[in-house]
């Protein structure tokens, strides 16, 4: 079942990239997706269609937050670059990801990396994210609070 789910997702991405809905292209896309899914070896996960609407809504909200973060991040770093004094106090601070699963930790790290002035450099086995900040005077709690909302949304999308 989890293989079919992965093949369908990959096929949708393939068709969106090629922009061609002819039968021959769909067959080719299915073949390519199947080979890619076999190479990826997806892990079985819970498939509950009843939580699909909630997950979809969480995905839309997360995408919107991500888009705002990308814009804020771009503008924030651009302002620092343009400032003649270059106002940075860089450092690496440890932040607890708060996630048990590897997927959750990875997505949490991604969400943190797109926020302004933060970039995850390392992750240890306990799920602690070592984050390089342009302004390391922020405490770990401050960054972790900002991260909590994204983590809640991610847990609804990927339980």
């Amino acid at each position: 079942m989890h293989y079919i789910r992965t093949i369908v997702i990959l096929l949708i991405i393939y068709l969106a990239l090629t922009g061609n809905l002819q039968l021959s292209n769909i067959v080719l896309g299915t073949l390519v997706s199947t080979v890619a899914a076999l190479l990826l070896r997806p892990q079985p996960g819970p498939t509950d269609l009843r939580r699909l609407p909630a997950a979809g809504w969480a995905l839309i909200r997360y995408t919107a937050i991500l888009a705002v973060d990308v814009v804020k991040s771009g503008i924030g770093v651009a302002r620092i670059v343009l400032d003649p004094a270059l106002p940075i106090q860089p450092g690496i601070i440890a932040i607890d990801s708060g996630c048990d699963s590897e997927l959750g930790t990875a997505l949490s790290a991604h969400a943190l990396s797109v926020t302004p002035g933060e970039l995850v450099i390392g992750i240890d086995k306990a799920g602690t994210l070592y984050t390089h900040c342009l302004d390391a005077t922020h405490s770990a709690e401050y960054v972790a609070d900002a991260q909590a909302m994204r983590r809640d949304l991610l847990s609804k999308i990927f339980p």
């Binding site: 068709l15 651009a78 940075i88 990396s113 002035g117 970039l119």
Partner: protein, 111 residues
């Protein structure tokens, strides 16, 4: 409607190009590899996303294709920055003007 779309696309081209240039400027001005990753990985990605949006509006590139490319860029960009930053720290490239380094403290602690 078409003119409005063209106006938005041209605006996106101008802002996207400006941010791409700022990314390069940040790359030159920032003091070390870690801070440079912020400039190239964030400012430039924002610039390229805007340029892609303009491309969808101005050229025959399909909306779906543009959307997938934007998603791949936003998902892949931070991963690339993380890989470079992680490798740099692992081989011991020092941070400049750093006020704290929690990762070094962990690495120096014997298991």
């Amino acid at each position: 409607m078409h003119t409005f779309l063209e106006f938005i696309a041209i605006l996106a081209v101008i802002i996207g190009t400006a941010f791409s240039v700022l990314g390069v400027l940040g790359f030159i001005r920032m003091p070390d590899v870690y801070t440079r990753l912020h400039a190239t990985g964030k400012v430039s990605i924002f610039g390229v996303v805007l340029l892609l949006l303009a491309t969808v509006a101005l050229t025959p590139l399909e909306f779906g294709k543009g959307l997938v490319l934007i998603v791949l860029l936003v998902v892949g960009g931070p991963v690339t920055s993380h890989a470079i930053g992680s490798a740099a720290h692992r081989i011991g490239i020092p941070m400049k003007r750093a006020i704290r380094d929690d990762l070094a403290a962990i690495e120096q602690t014997p298991p």
